[in-house]
Amino acid sequence: MMDLEFLRNLIEIIEDSDLDTIELEHEGTKIKLAKASGKEAGWSVNAPDLSMKDNPSPLVDEVVSAETVSTVEAETGANSNLIEVKSPMVGTLYAASSPDADSYVKVGSRVNAGDTLCILEAMKLMNELEAEVSGVIEEVCVQNGEPVQYGQVLFLLNPS
């Protein structure tokens, strides 16, 4: 029969991983390993649901976001301490105090806690978003004039 040590190793591998299923076929030998967790809510991502065709589905965003984060982590290598600055409200982001003014911050800007990062407008009210910690702006995730949701990541900030 088959090498059980190999199978144990395989199970360790699947348990330590985020995989759902492992299927192997080798010289007439087939192995399929499946995890209990699997299914839940996963269908919506692949759903052949025409109603979602032109829908920038938040669930898809959500699922993808996990990858986005890990991508960032991978890219930034040693430095994985980036802080996500999220929107505390729904509204429109303005990068500067007026159409003619310079942006409050751009990639590479050094900010101190309390500095204005951008303006968020909702119901004609302008709300200044301030940095909570000091650091350097590593990424600007939303462009001037774009709408933002609650909890949306606006900036990646490297604290210092």
Binding site: S44, P56, Q149
Partner: protein
């Protein structure tokens, strides 16, 4: 090929759960793009998935999401929606919200602030109705200032009486007292509770009628001055003033009584120039006398019961009427076909005094076949959040008569599998086997009595 009149291009749904899905379906059928708003707890919910656009508006707490007017208006602004459908609950009967929408040139699918206010305060609503000749339950004409007033009114109309918070609703803020001694004990407490719960200590007093049935009339008004009714729903199967089962026609209803109550309800709507879907609630005593209790200026949870027996789509009608169209159905008495019953399936454990039971829906296998309609936001794997109301699904069954509908409902409930959270399904199923319920004409005290038998099983 495009059918139908062009309506709004885009509509925002300021709600969640099954009613948000219900409104999305109506919009899809009308060719209107939809915007869902959702809290972080609802990021995986179907309303956020099935809408054309979805906006996260805040954290789990309703006060920072579905109840936050500013966040919802901001979501309208960034998506360019022309109209808001508030569903039921949350901001549906919030006059300020309706007014802010009006000022912001957003169509609020519901009545204007004045109409909401006219009906939102129960004592005011009562006065309004008395002025236009709608019968009300004997009681204080307006608010009761203090215990002395309360005593004199109670002795005039006779005990038992009910002390009700003017701003109350949904079964909250009301207390029955049997005599003057109980009244003395309870009056101040009720005022204090009203203050803490609703921010308003105003109370009024009504005669308490036992063996009463709760029968409501669905009305609809358009902006061309027409108000019509679509028959009644019997909602007497309540637990602590929370409806569990609703049906139409009401058991024992005659066409003459329907006509009379319908006309009274239309009068109530016309009295405030009502536009949109509204429900005029009455208490009906064993002699068939009926008394206005309140008017709800929104779509009701139980609207599908009326949809099934009339063949109309009330949510689409709401949207068309809000756009300015005339009512799509003819004047006169509504045509009622067969019998429909709605069962509210809640994430509650009936065996543990209906304790809420949030959690993961590990299995969701709905019933099907003839006469079965299901309005739900559930799916296998759905997490029922603990932050909102416990309604999971509305099972609406229909048959050519009440007997067929009940038996169909019983077997639909029995084949409905929801695992992972406790639900009211077994309790509802047992009600469908109860002789009193089957005979029909249960009063609002039925569930309390049934529960005593049920708990002892």
């Amino acid at each position: 090929m495009i059918w139908g009149v062009l309506l709004f291009k885009k509509l925002l749904i300021a709600n969640r759960g099954e009613i948000a899905l219900r409104i999305i379906r109506a919009c899809k059928e009308l060719g209107i793009k939809t915007v869902a708003v959702y809290s972080e707890a609802d990021k995986d919910s179907l309303h956020a998935r099935f809408a054309d656009e979805s906006i996260c508006i805040g954290p789990n707490s309703p006060s920072e999401s579905y109840l936050d007017v500013a966040r919802i208006i901001a979501a309208v602004e960034i998506t360019g929606a022309e109209a808001i459908h508030p569903g039921y609950g949350f901001l549906a009967e919030n006059a300020d919200f309706s007014e802010i929408c009006e000022r912001s040139k957003i169509v609020f699918i519901g009545p204007n602030a004045d109409q909401i206010e006219a009906m939102g305060d129960k004592a005011t609503a009562r006065e309004t109705m008395q002025q236009i000749g709608v019968p009300t339950v004997p009681g204080s004409d307006g608010l009761v200032a203090d215990l002395k007033d309360a005593k004199s009114i109670a002795s005039e109309i006779g005990y038992p009486v009910m002390i009700k918070a003017s701003a109350g609703g949904g079964g909250k803020g009301m207390r029955v007292v049997q005599n003057e001694e109980e009244l003395s004990k309870s009056f101040d407490t009720t005022q204090a509770e009203a203050k803490s719960t609703f921010g308003n200590s105003d109370v009024y007093i009504e005669k308490y009628i036992s063996e009463i049935r709760h029968v409501e009339i669905q009305i609809f008004g358009d902006s061309h001055g027409k108000v019509l009714h679509l028959g009644e729903r019997d909602c007497s199967t309540q637990r602590r003033h929370q409806k569990l089962i609703e049906e139409s026609p009401a058991p024992g209803m005659t066409s003459e009584m329907r006509r009379q109550m319908g006309e009274t309800a239309i009068m109530a709507g016309q009295g405030i120039d009502y536009v949109g879907a509204g429900t005029v609630e009455f208490l009906v005593d064993p002699e068939g006398n009926y008394y206005f209790i309140e008017m709800n200026t929104r779509i009701q949870v139980e609207h599908p019961v009326t949809e099934v027996v009339t063949g109309l789509d009330l949510v689409k009608e709401q949207i068309r009427v809000a756009f300015g169209e005339a009512l799509s159905f003819p004047s006169g008495e509504p045509s009622i076909q067969g019998h429909a019953i709605e069962f509210r399936i809640n994430a509650e454990d009936p065996a543990q005094n209906f304790m809420p039971s949030p959690g993961c829906v590990e299995t969701f296998q709905p019933p099907g076949g003839p006469g079965i309609r299901l309005d739900t936001h559930l799916y296998t794997g759905y997490q029922v959040p603990p932050y909102y109301d416990s309604l999971l699904a509305k099972l609406i069954v229909s048959g050519s008569n009440r007997e067929e509908a009940i038996v169909r409902g019983r077997h639909a409930l029995d084949s409905f599998v929801i695992e992972g959270v406790k639900t009211s399904i077994p309790f509802l199923s047992d009600i469908t086997r109860d002789d009193d319920f089957m005979t029909g004409g249960v009063d609002t005290g039925f569930v309390e009595k049934f529960m005593q038998r049920w708990v002892k099983r």
